[in-house]
């Protein structure tokens, strides 16, 4: 079997070489690629940083939610990141939602409940576009899973507002962003130093807020801690497989 192995190695080398040549043409994509950061939820043993999630929710609520909906999120989900049931009720009750029709056939307003989804800032897409110079602020529920680069991309956009390079014309109502594909984004720079006041005393720099909200959005796009149950499952499977290997050796011993 040595020769086929050699051939496989050759094939792999050819493949790797091809990949290296192919790398050249992705230069265009790299222009907008956001720098890779370390996130606590990455890796096999990664977990979400609860304090960062709570701060990130605060940034979303006080800044992003002015334009961006999170239609897949329920207020009850917030209990998973450390808010108590009473706090969640209070957060939900801080908005008025339209419900109905009641027995008289009328729609009515009532305070939000934990089972409600996050109240969107605009009634519909047209209202959102009308208020935003024709641009539609995307829903953020799945944004980390829906963009190449994930949390890095979100952080890159939020911290990517700089002066445009000399000679570049920016269309009216657009802003230069080094991480956005095409570099012209309709969103004005949303963060400024001290834009929120964190109750835990963390200094609200742009980087800090961008990182916190990226953490929150990463959690919101999955909602689940898969890693812990994953580690348990894989450990179980490894033990099982070792036992099966032992059984296999024992049963086959007589044949060899």
């Amino acid at each position: 079997m040595r020769r086929p192995l050699l051939a496989l190695l050759t094939a792999t080398l050819i493949g790797t070489g091809a990949a290296a040549i192919g790398g050249g043409s992705t230069a265009l994509a790299e222009e907008t690629a956001s720098p890779e950061r370390h996130w606590s939820f990455q890796g096999i043993f990664g977990t979400y940083d609860r304090a960062a999630l709570a701060r990130g929710f605060q940034v979303y609520k006080e800044i992003c939610s002015a334009c961006h909906s999170m239609n897949l999120m329920h207020y009850r989900n917030l209990q998973d990141i450390g808010f108590t049931a009473d706090q969640v009720k209070e957060i939900a009750a801080s908005v008025q939602v339209t419900d109905g029709p009641n027995d008289a056939g009328d729609m009515f307003e009532r305070p939000g409940r934990p089972s409600d989804t996050f109240k969107p800032p605009f009634a519909n897409e047209n209202a959102a576009r009308a208020a935003n110079n024709g641009a539609l602020p995307p829903d953020l529920s799945l944004i980390v899973k829906a963009r190449p680069g994930g949390a890095d991309h979100v952080f890159g956009i939020l911290t990517g507002f700089t002066d445009p390079p000399a000679g570049m014309k920016i269309a009216q109502g657009m802003y230069y962003n080094k991480a956005f594909p095409g570099h012209q984004i309709a969103m004005p720079p949303p963060l400024s130093d001290g834009a929120v006041t964190y109750p835990d005393g963390t200094k609200a720099t742009i980087d800090q807020m961008a990182s916190d909200v990226a953490n929150f959005l990463a959690w919101a796009s999955e909602l689940e801690e898969r890693h812990f149950v994953g580690v348990k499952t894989v450990l179980f499977l490894i033990v099982l497989t070792v036992l099966l290997y032992g059984a296999k050796r024992k049963i086959w011993a007589a044949v060899h």
Binding site: P4, A7, T10, A11, A18, G22, H227, V234, L237, I251
Partner: protein, 425 residues
């Protein structure tokens, strides 16, 4: 197949009573217990049972997912997210199912290339191979329609691109596409019928798999030496030898599968499919799932649409014709010193085509995918027939048991002792 030949003495009186009237126990004993199997199968032979495992896993998770899914263009995307976010362990079911498709194709591709390396398609196993190719085609149809169901951007645009292939058919093409869509664009009727067919096809696959297994058990498995079993000394009963070996292989496979599901569940997916389908916004680049990429590269390597579509479907037809294109009497590539290199070349070619299929058709990708497609056709249509004429195969060992039990004795009798004993203990 008949159970009457060897009727095992079951101890349990109820089993005996049933078996006398309905010989299912005899049948299972015959096909799964005593079923004689070559004693020299290596781990490449695990992938058939792994494919069977994946089929069952996909049907099981799929049936449960269908209980929570809504096949409606306005509700489908959110119903999948409802599964991911609200259904208990829905995320686990959905990630197992979604990545299960990739796992199924990984397993089946290894299974196919194992067959190509060891000549498992040669007489008397041509029908076994044909049924396998049929399963593969059904799998591709099922996987394609399943990918449409979440109704994300890539679902929608992938469905648009692939169904549009049929518009290349002369004269009736446009009508065929309208008929497939159930309208004048990919829309709610398309989603509904794809859901219906996605639920139906796996059970048709089960039917063809049963035929595949019946055809397999007619002559038994091929083996790494590619020579027939000549008697009891060459075979061992399927149980417990291969049940335990397959179980161990399944364990290794499940570790890999679980790592993907829990740690990198979106590795094989496209971020764009987490954006709801929008007929007004085309994604920057429409790429099919990885398991279609080699065919996609062949499709795009030809500038003419109809010719491209024919070349793509032709690539699958060639696979079905292999038993008649490869005329060499020797099965295993171990004894085919020239074919062996072309085998690895074909495998490398498929990787190259897959790589080209993942990138936009510009620059050197165009040339590479053309060369790749050309080699693919040359391999089947020219190299296979010519090798049968010009290749000098190595001498075959006299029997399986001889090469397994007395590897030392081989070197004297058979000049270059290529036929090593089983590599894996």
């Amino acid at each position: 197949m008949t159970a009457s030949a060897t009727r095992p003495g079951f101890k349990n009186p109820i089993v005996r009573w049933i078996d006398h009237r309905l010989p299912v126990f005899s049948y299972m004993d015959h096909e799964l217990n005593e079923y004689p199997t070559p004693k020299n199968l290596n781990y490449m032979w695990n992938f058939g049972s792994l494919a069977g495992f994946m089929l069952v896993a996909m049907i099981t998770t799929g049936i449960i997912l269908a209980m929570h899914y809504t096949p409606d263009a306005t509700l489908a995307f959110n119903s999948v997210e409802h599964i991911m976010r609200d259904v208990n362990y829905g995320w686990l079911l959905r990630y197992i199912h979604m990545n299960g498709a990739s796992m199924f194709f990984i397993v089946v591709y290894i299974h196919i290339f194992r067959g190509l390396y060891y000549g498992s398609y040669k007489a008397p196993r041509e029908l076994l191979w044909l049924l396998g190719v049929l399963i593969y085609v059904l799998m591709m149809a099922t996987a394609f329609m399943g990918y449409v169901l979440p109704w994300g951007q890539m679902s929608f645009w992938g469905a648009t691109v692939i169904t549009n292939l049929f518009s290349a058919i002369p004269v009736v093409g446009e009508s065929v596409v309208t008929w497939l869509w159930g309208g004048f664009a990919v829309d709610n009727p398309t989603l509904n019928r794809f859901f219906s067919l996605h639920y139906l096809l796996p059970f048709i696959i089960v039917g063809v798999v049963i035929l595949h297994i019946i055809a397999l058990h007619r002559f038994g498995s091929n083996n790494p030496l590619g020579i027939d079993m000549k008697g009891k000394q060459d075979s061992i009963p399927f149980h417990p030898y291969y049940t335990v070996k397959d179980s161990f292989g399944l364990g290794v496979f499940l570790i890999f599968y679980a790592c993907i599901v829990f740690f990198w569940p979106n590795l094989f997916g496209e971020p764009d499919n987490y954006i709801p389908a929008n007929p007004l916004a085309t994604p920057a680049e429409i790429v099919p799932e990885w398991y279609f990429l080699p065919f996609y590269a062949i499709l795009r390597s030809i500038p003419n649409k109809l010719a491209g579509v024919i070349a793509m479907f032709g690539a699958i037809v060639l696979l079905a014709l292999v038993p008649w294109l490869d005329r060499s009497p020797v099965k295993s590539a171990r004894f085919r010193p020239v074919y062996r290199y072309f085998f690895w070349l074909l495998l490398g070619d498929c990787f190259l085509l897959g790589f080209c299929g993942a990138h936009p058709p510009e620059g050197w990708y165009v040339l590479a995918s053309r060369l790749g497609a050309l080699y693919y056709y040359l391999h089947f249509l020219v190299i296979f027939p010519l090798l049968a004429l010009f290749e000098r195969p190595l001498p075959l060992p006299r029997s399986i048991s001889e090469s397994v039990l007395k590897p030392g004795a081989m070197s004297g009798a058979v000049a270059p002792a290529r036929a090593l004993p089983m590599e894996k203990a």
